[in-house]
Amino acid sequence: MSAVVTDHEHEHHDHKPSGIKRWLYTTNHKDIGTMYLVFALIMFFIGGAMAMVIRAELFQPGMQFVEPNFFNQMTTVHGLIMVFGAVMPAFTGLANWMIPMMIGAPDMALPRMNNWSFWILPFAFLILLMSLFMPGGGPSFGWTFYAPLSTTYSGDSTALFVFSVHIMGISSIMGAINVIVTIFNLRAPGMTWMKMPLFVWTWLITAFLLIMVMPVLAGVVTMVLTDKYFGTSFFDAAGGGDPVLFQHIFWFFGHPEVYIMILPAFGIVSSIVPTFARKPLFGYASMVYATSSIALLSFLVWAHHMFTTGMPVAGALFFMYCTMLIAVPTGVKVFNWVATMWRGAMTFEVPMMFALAFIVLFTIGGFSGLMLAITPADFQYHDTYFVVAHFHYVLVTGAVFSIIAAAYYWLPKWTGHMYDEKLGQWHFWCSLISVNMLFFPMHFVGLAGMPRRIPDYALQFADFNAFISIGGFLFGASQLIFVAVLVKCARGGEKATAQVWEGAEGLEWEVPSPAPYHTFETPPVIK
C-alpha cells in the first residue's frame, strides 16, 4: 500500500488549551487515545495489586492474610478491572490513536462523543472501587456474578456494581459506534475495504460485537438489580424464574466479549509480524474471513461455559461441535503468521518478541480451549484451575502481550523517540519467564482437582501454589520495568524516523514521528 502524502503538517493548527483543560476538553483522537492507554495502565496495576493479594493468600494452605469474604471480593474486582478497565480501554486507546492514522482520516468521526466515552470511564471504576469500602465490602460473587448469589444473597454493594457496569457499557458502546462510523465514512480515497490494515478490520468486527452484546450485559445487570431490589423473579424459581437463565444471558454477552478482547490482538500481531519479517502477510483475505467467522461463531458457543448446568444432550452436542469449529479459523490465523515468517528476514526487536510470544502462548491457550470444548472432559476441567490457566493464557499472554507489543511498536510514533531496547528486552524476558511460572503450573493444579475461587486448599496443592505465587509476584514486578521504559521513552531518547521500522508499511508510518497533533487534514490518495 502506498500513499501520496500531501502537505498535512499544519503545525499552526496545533492550538490547544494547556494543563488539565487540554485533557478534559480534548476532542483530539491522539489525546483521547493517550488517556485511554494511561488509564488502562493504571487499572492494570490496580487489578494486578488485587491479584497479588490473591496469590499471597494462596501462597500457603490455611488462611493467612485475608478473610474468605475479602478474598472473593478480590477475585471479583480483579476480574472486572482487568476485563473492563485494563484490556478493553487499552484496545480502545490503540483504536483511537491508530485507526484514523491508518485509514487516512483527520480524527475520529464523533470527537465529542469520544471525549465523553472516555471521561465517564474513570467514574465507573471509582464507583466500583469505592464499593470495596462499604460495610460488608464490595461485590464478592465473581466477575460472572451468577444469580442468585448476586441477587438474593449479595450485599448492598450490588447496586453500585450494577451502576458501574452500566457506565462501562455505555462507554464501550459509544467507543464502538465511533469506530464503526469512522471506518465507514472517513477512509481516505482509494482505501477500499480489502486494502484496510488488519488492525482496522479486526477492530471494525470487534466494534460490531460490542454494539451487539454490551446491551445484553446491560440487560442482565438490570435484571439482577430488579431481582434484588424491586421484587422481580427473573432468576428465582420461587417466582417462576430460573437461575440458569442468568447464565444464558450472561454468556451470550460473555462469549463474544472474550473475542472482543482478542480480535484486536490478532490485528496487532498481523501488523507486527510482517514488519519484522520484512515480508507481506501470507493470507490477508483469509485473515479477514477468519476473523469474521470467529465473530459469527462467537454467538453460537455461549453455553460451552455451562455444560455442567444440566442441559439436554442435544444442546450439549450442538455447543460442543460449534466450539470445536472455532479451532479452524483460529488455526488459519496461526498458520498465516507462521507462513508470514517463513523465508522472511526477521529481526527481533521488543514488539516482535512479544508478538512471537503471543503466537506461541496464545496457541497454548487455544489448545486448552479445544480440550475444554470436549464436553465429557469439560466436566472434569470446569471451574478448576485448568480453566484459570486457559483464560489467563488467552488474556494475559494473549490480549495483554499484544497490547504491550503494540505499545512498543507504536511508541516511537507516539513520542518521537525510540524506547530503550535493552530495558525493553529485559521487560520481555522477565515477563515471559514469570508469566509461565505463574500460569503454566495452573494446568497441573487444575487437572489434579483444585477448584477455582477458593481461598484455601488441600495440602497436595501446596507446593504448586507456592511456586505459582512466586511467578505471580515476579510477573507483577516485571511490569514495573515496562513503566520505566514508558517514562524514559516519553521523556526523550533517540529520535525516531517517520518509518521507525525498516519493514513497516502503512499510512501511519508516512507521517512524521512524533505524529503531529493533527494528521491527514487533507486526505492522502491511496493508489
Binding site: 460495610p135 430460573d242 493470507g283 444432550v313 522472511g344 506461541v360 470436549i374 489434579a448 482437582g449 477448584p451
Partner: protein, 380 residues
Amino acid sequence: MTKTRSLRWSLPTLLLAATVNATDMPLNMTRGVTEISQQVYDLHMTIFWICCVIGAVVFGIMFWSIVRHRKARGVQPAQFHESTKVEILWTAIPVLILILMAIPATKTLIAMEDTTEADVTVLVTGSQWKWHYKYLENDVEFYSLLATPKEQITNRFAKGENYLLEVDRPLVIPTGKKVRFLMTSDDVIHSWWVPAFAVKKDANPGFINEAWTRVDEPGIYRGQCAELCGKDHGFMPIVVIAKSPADYEQWVNGEAERIAKARAEEQELLAMNMSMEELMSVGARTYTAYCAACHQPNGEGLPGIFPALKGSAMALNDMPGHINIVLNGKAGTSMQAYARQLSLKEIAAVITYERNAWGNNTGELVQAADVHAVMQGKGE
C-alpha cells in the same frame, strides 16, 4: 505410567522439590474408578496428544524459521503470499481431526447423560455451606459438613492429612450398582464434583439435575463444591465411601435405625428440662458448626452482610421470634431454616447459647419443648 513418571520430574517440580512437606500431587487428570471416568480420561489424553502433535509441528516450523530466516544471517526476504492450495489444506486437515475427535466425545457424553435404570437414587441438596443427602428408597437422610477443625484453617493446629477434604458424615454408596444423583439446592448454585467418578453437576435452586455413577472399587473418594457459592465455597467438601452391597445394606439399615431412634429420643426430650450447663455446651458446639460461618465465633457477624447476634434486640428480648427465625430461616436472605437440619435439642441449645454468650446474659433457658411449641404454631 512411565510418561507420568517423567513428567513428574519436569522443571517446576524440580524447582519445587526443596520446598514444604509435600503430599504428592498427581500431575494429570485422574483416571478415576468408573468406566465413564476412564473414558473421560482417554478423551482427555487423546485431545491432549493431538494438541501436542499440532503444537510440535507448528512451533517446530516457527522456530526453524526463527533460527534460519533471520536478517542477521544475511537472508533476503521472499515476497510470496496467498496460496489457495495451502489455505484449503490447512482448513481441511483440522476439520478432519475435529470430526475424528467428536465421535468418541459424543459417545461418552450420551452414556454420561443416560440416568435410566438406576439401582439407588440419592437426592443431593447443596446449601451454604454443606451438602445434604437423602436416600429416596430408604428413610435415611443427613447433612454432611466439613470436619476440619477451625484451628487447622487458622494455622493454630498442624493440618491433617485430609485437610479441607474431610466431612463428619460421608455419603455411602454400594459398589457395582448404578447410583443416580438428583441435584438441587436450597439457596445459591453449588456444584457437586467427585473427580474419581467424573461427575460434576450443578445444584440449581428450584430445579433438579441428574447424574449417575457406577463404582466398582470399594474406597473413599473425595471432592469439593465446584461453583462459587459465597464466603465458604472453599469449605464444603464431598466424601463418598463406596461399600460392597452387603456392607452398604448393613450401613443403610443402621442409619435408618439411628435416625428412628433419634426421633424417638426427641419425643422423650420434650418432657425433660436440660440444665444451663448442658444447653450451653451443646449450644456452643452447634453454634460453631452451623452458625459461626456467618455470625462469626464472637457473635458480631460481618457488618453489611451477616447481622450481629451479640447485643441484638432479637437475642436479648424476642424469644419466640428468635426460635422462629432459627427454625424457619428468613426469606430473601442467607439465613437458612434449621428445623430439618438440627434436632430439637440442638436448636434449643443453640438458642440458649446465643441468648447467653458474649455478654448476652439474659439468663433464659430454651428447652426442646419451647422449640416444639413454636414449631406447632403455639409459641406466638
